[in-house]
């Protein structure tokens, strides 16, 4: 259980970090909290030639709201997001979902941006980013670009990040009053990756559902937002669940069959929508 030999880059500025990445290209891997990468290294499932450790990049250790967006720097640990009152108030979906990431010990080290860049198909935070329409800010020697969450996740463990790019910040939009949010998932054991998870947002006006956002994790190679299901949910939560069952085509594996995952998607859709509705209305159950 020891990693293979690797070169170690220990930059103290973002500029140095992107230089390291530019020089080594595909051979390099960014080390943030290490909660996914280090086990992969120790099991020798991953063998990068070089690790670029971003733990000394103090300039990326910020969490604040600016112009309607919550900005989360790449050094911010999940635990900080979990304990932030500002996040709970302004981006409650993120605050709720982050508690499902592994265990407290993992969240003490793991970072929000690290979880996004790792892009595990069943991870919670990529689903939150897609549901909210987050933006990912990436830097390379050539400059900065912004990638919408829905274009960021391109496959299992695969993102739109180029080998020379560093994810420096995730930006989550703050939604106006009237929206309620919920994240629900089913796992075999607490702290495991989701067999299926649903992030839902419901906008209620005059006690009627006016708008819905829904994203699914664990039900395909990337987190996915389903517009047809959202439209159905504006009319009827139950129909939305059936719509999700029909439109998702998850894979079966050792942990759950494809059919069971579709079933979970249907049930969790209703559960997430009802909970989000209650939160939007301050406790009123959905009729």
């Amino acid at each position: 259980m020891k990693p293979p030999v690797f070169e170690y880059c220990d930059p103290t500025t973002v500029e140095e970090a992107v230089d390291c990445l530019a020089e080594r290209g595909e051979a390099a891997k960014v080390l943030a909290g290490g909660q996914s990468l280090l086990p992969l290294l120790n099991l020798r499932l991953a063998r990068p030639d070089c690790l670029v450790d971003i733990n000394r990049l103090d300039e990326l250790d910020y969490l604040h709201e600016e112009a309607g967006w919550l900005r989360v720097g790449a050094r911010v640990r999940q635990r900080r997001v979990e304990e932030s009152e500002e996040v709970a108030r302004r981006v409650p979906l993120l605050a709720e979902a982050v508690r499902y990431v592994g265990h407290p010990q993992i969240r003490n080290r793991g970072t929000v941006c690290g979880s996004l860049a790792h892009a595990d198909p069943a991870a919670e935070l990529p689903g939150v980013a897609v549901a909210l329409g987050a933006r990912l800010l990436v830097r390379s020697r050539l400059g900065t670009r912004e990638i919408p969450a829905e274009q960021f996740f391109t496959g299992q463990l695969t993102t739109a990040l180029r080998p020379d790019e560093l994810l420096v910040e995730a930006q989550f939009p703050v939604f106006p009053a009237g929206w309620g949010w919920a994240f629900v998932e089913v796992t075999n054991r607490h702290g495991d990756y989701a067999l299926c998870g649903v992030a839902a947002g419901v906008y209620v006006e005059d006690r009627r559902v006016r708008d819905v956002r829904l994203a699914y994790v664990g039900a395909g190679p990337t987190p996915v937002r389903l517009r047809e299901v959202e439209l159905a949910a504006v009319e009827d939560f139950r129909v939305a669940g059936e719509e999700a069952r029909a439109r998702l085509s998850p894979d079966g594996d050792l942990h759950a069959s494809a059919e069971f995952r579709r079933h979970l998607a249907a049930v969790l859709t209703g559960r997430a929508l009802r909970r989000a509705f209650e939160r939007a209305t301050g406790g009123e159950p959905h009729a």
């Binding site: 020798r44 990068p48 198909p121 299992q156 990756y193 079966g252 942990h255």
Partner: protein
């Protein structure tokens, strides 16, 4: 784990069969294939580098053709090991005549062991992606021939 899929190739069945029956084109189109050495008419030794993102391994293994019915179907048995564990699979490939096109139906039953088990939930997706790359490459060869 059972995995299956279908692809359409833009050539008649006889031509598709000839290509699939040729170790060289197989080696060219198999993603990550580094070496393919015949051990006999129906048995090969292969070195493959496969994976996604940084999770990548080099596998050494054997591929044996267990059934061969031109130009309709063949069945293979694959065994591979790497530092991270082993993979065993049986696969079936069927070619359906669609006139100027050929429909390829593939299915496999995959077993993994060792550290690889940890990533087992990703394997159906990876297999599908690799199969997609493989058949797209074959299709390009058929179109350009």
């Amino acid at each position: 784990m059972r995995i299956e899929g279908t692809h359409t190739l833009h050539a008649p069945r006889d031509r598709v069969w000839a290509l699939l029956d040729d170790p060289q084109s197989l080696a060219r189109c198999t993603p990550g294939m580094q070496e393919l050495r015949p051990l006999g008419p129906e048995e090969f030794e292969a070195v493959l580098s496969i994976g996604i993102a940084a999770v990548r391994g080099t596998y050494k293994g054997k591929l044996r053709i267990t059934e061969r019915t031109p130009p309709e179907r063949y069945a293979v048995q694959v065994e591979g090991t790497s530092g991270a564990g082993f993979v065993r699979a049986v696969g079936l490939l069927e070619l359906v005549d669609r006139g100027p096109q050929t429909e390829v139906r593939w299915s496999g039953d995959v077993q993994v062991g060792g550290a690889l088990t940890i990533g087992s939930r990703m394997i159906p997706g990876i297999a599908r992606m690799l199969a997609g790359q493989f058949f797209q490459c074959l299709d390009e060869q058929l179109r350009n021939a």
